[in-house]
């Protein structure tokens, strides 16, 4: 019995012999350090797997919802037929399909669905970026005056009768108005190369109030028919959106959202303050300027084809944070997918719930989105942990 403890060290003392050392390559320090590292990696990979599942689910949802929206309407097209029509047209295959159904799905419904998806993605990504940039859960894509600028641009264009002259004049005016307003707000808040975010917020609100007042003045000088059109535009809608509209927004949304994603790490760093971000190596002023510019472009383009669709950009990021956490590397793309599904679904409801009467899409996002959001707020007290 006494021999074994003596024997053990003896064998261990033998181990530095070349043969034993080769069979046991890991030095003792590495073995000691391993458990902690392994545990951390396991935790991280579990989180990564669950995030991948969420992204997978969000991606599939967009396609399912899009096909659903393309199949439902006054003329019902079976779901599988819809999928086949879309697949066939996209891939350039010729499958024998009932031609009116194919026409409806491909030329009428699908463009509208795509515009809804793109607008939803643009507003949600922009909203998430703005909430990060302002470190404020109340921030929305149009905060820097973009929404009110777009509205004023569109209303002035309609007031001048441009909507009769060319289909693109109102959206172009809205886009110009959005960028104009954002530029004013940015210049007001920037002094000596530094942009003060509190000033920017206040300037944005002030400019919005002023533009709303100008719009209200114009109300007095238009006849009822035009007034109705203006009010409808302001509520946001997607009626009659065609492939042209898809083509017009795609570059802005695609480039804008991708570019915002590029700034995800900077937005993360900015969440603990500008000094901290700067000390971590973030070029703070350049980041603020570029993120604001990208948000203005993306949001401006979205609003100019859809009108004012509220709440998507405010709510979606909060819901998405529950699923993938606050890291902007995941939050921004997940918000884009979720926002696309949300707006496609909202637009489907808008088209069909009181058919043949169409609701404005902006109304549906509020009527259905807000109660859901309030329910989340009430049931999850920790939904908005902003400080």
């Amino acid at each position: 019995m006494n021999e074994s403890p003596v024997a053990a060290p003896a064998t261990r003392r033998d181990s530095p012999a070349p043969k034993a050392a080769a069979s046991r390559p890991a030095p003792p320090t590495a073995t000691a350090a391993r458990p902690a590292t392994v545990r951390a990696t396991e935790g991280a990979s579990r989180a990564r797997t669950s995030h991948q599942l969420v992204f997978g689910a969000l991606g599939i949802t967009v396609f399912v919802v899009a096909a659903l929206a393309a199949s439902i309407g006054t003329v019902g097209v079976p779901y599988l037929d819809t999928v086949r029509i879309i697949a066939a047209r996209t891939l350039g295959l010729s499958i024998e399909l009932p031609s009116p159904a194919a026409e409806i799905v491909w030329n009428i419904r699908l463009p509208r669905v795509l515009v809804a998806g793109l607008v939803g993605a643009a507003l949600s990504t922009s909203g998430a970026a703005m909430q990060g940039l302002f470190k404020n859960p109340l921030a929305s894509p149009g905060l820097a005056g973009v929404s009110s600028g777009a509205s004023l641009g569109a209303v002035v264009a309609m007031f001048l009768g441009w909507h009769f002259m060319h289909i693109w004049l109102v959206p172009a005016a809205a886009f110009a108005g959005a960028l104009f307003a954002a530029a004013i707000v940015y210049v007001l808040a920037t002094k000596g190369g530094r942009t003060d975010m509190a000033t920017l917020l206040l300037a944005g609100i002030a400019v919005s109030a002023f533009f709303s007042a100008v719009i209200a003045i114009l109300y007095h000088f238009v006849e009822d028919g035009l007034l109705r059109q203006i009010v409808y535009w302001l509520m946001g809608h997607l009626t009659g959106r065609r492939w042209d509209h898809v083509a017009a927004v795609v570059p802005f949304v695609a480039i804008g959202s991708a570019a915002l994603w590029y700034f995800a790490g900077d937005l993360n760093a900015l969440m603990s303050g500008e000094d901290e971000a700067r000390s971590m190596g973030v070029p703070v002023e350049r980041t603020k300027a570029l993120v604001l510019a990208l948000v203005s472009l993306t949001t401006g383009a979205a609003i100019s084809v859809s009108g004012m669709i509220g709440f998507v950009g405010l709510i979606t990021p909060h819901i998405v944070r529950l699923l993938v956490g606050p890291d902007h590397r995941r939050l921004l793309p997940a918000s884009a997918l979720a926002g696309a599904s949300f707006l496609i679904l909202s637009d489907l409801i808008a088209r069909t719930i009181f058919s043949p009467v169409e609701l404005r899409t902006g109304i549906v996002t509020a009527i259905f989105g807000v109660p859901f959001f309030l329910y989340l707020l009430a049931s999850r007290r920790n939904l908005v942990r902003w400080s």
Binding site: A264, S272, G281
Partner: protein, 256 residues
């Protein structure tokens, strides 16, 4: 290592710090003391290149801090402000990982070096058990250690701390300062920190600069700067510096 050379900073025509010159040696803890409004925070922010000085310059190993590109600078100097905060439900590990910003390519996954740096930083600050907690749920003392871990994840040579003990209870203050001292020795860091508590300055700093109204009143080794007369001159309080035979020294403040 760090040379602050005739630095002034003014807001409009109102000077905050004026003609400050200090030399910080490699591997030491340098304390900046002075009453409220003396310009301690501003001096630290200018020194860490978060603010550009109106005149003068800051040299890090002979290179102008303000001319080093952001990322390269962040790999050499880290700054921890007085009230670090982070909202939106970030978890502790995510917060510490942000310290790797200057090492990572955009949107690239963490490298092994990043993971090791984050793990080491959390290990040495004792924040590993907090890794999956949400930052806003932590106590002030825990949060301070998390942000310290993030600064360490930057693997800097130089660490700026703006009142690291602010709003902490006495025990946490000592624990944090001991932790900083420990890390400093272990990693060979140079630490520059603003401190309110003169006793801590006396115990934890090799050198001290006393600021008053934006100007340096005295700078040099802690013992030469922190004298009873100087404390009275700078803070306007009568005081006694007690150096007991056993145990560390302290500054007793008697009254105005």
């Amino acid at each position: 290592m760090l040379e602050i050379d005739g630095v002034s900073f003014a807001i409009g025509s109102h000077p905050i710090i004026e003609d400050v010159s200090l030399a910080v040696r490699s591997g030491e803890t340098y304390g900046v003391i002075g009453p409220n409004g003396a310009g301690k925070t501003t001096l630290l922010r200018v020194a860490a290149a978060l603010l550009s000085p109106t005149t003068g310059r800051v040299l890090l190993e002979g290179t102008d801090m303000h001319r080093i590109p952001e990322r390269a600078r962040a790999r050499r100097a880290a700054f921890l402000s007085q009230h670090p905060q982070i909202g939106f439900g970030f978890r502790v590990r995510e917060v510490v990982t942000m310290g790797r910003y200057a090492y990572r390519r955009r949107l690239a996954p963490l490298s092994d070096a990043d993971r090791t740096a984050v793990d080491d930083a959390m290990e040495s600050t004792g924040t590993k058990p907090l890794a999956d907690r949400i930052a806003t749920d932590l106590s002030g003392g825990e949060l301070r250690r998390v942000f310290l871990a993030r600064a360490l994840a930057q693997q800097p040579l130089l660490l700026f701390l703006d009142e690291p003990t602010a709003h902490l209870d006495v025990r946490y203050q000592i624990e944090l300062l001991e932790l900083i001292r420990h890390i400093q020795v272990e990693c060979g860091l140079t630490v520059v920190m603003a401190l309110h508590d003169l006793t801590w300055a006396l115990r934890y700093c090799h050198s001290v600069a006393a600021l008053k109204n934006g100007r340096v009143v005295a700078s040099g080794s802690t013992d030469s700067v922190l004298t009873e007369e100087r404390v009275e001159q700078v803070f306007g309080v009568s005081n006694r510096i007690v150096r007991p035979d056993s145990g560390p020294p302290r500054v007793d403040v008697i009254g105005v």
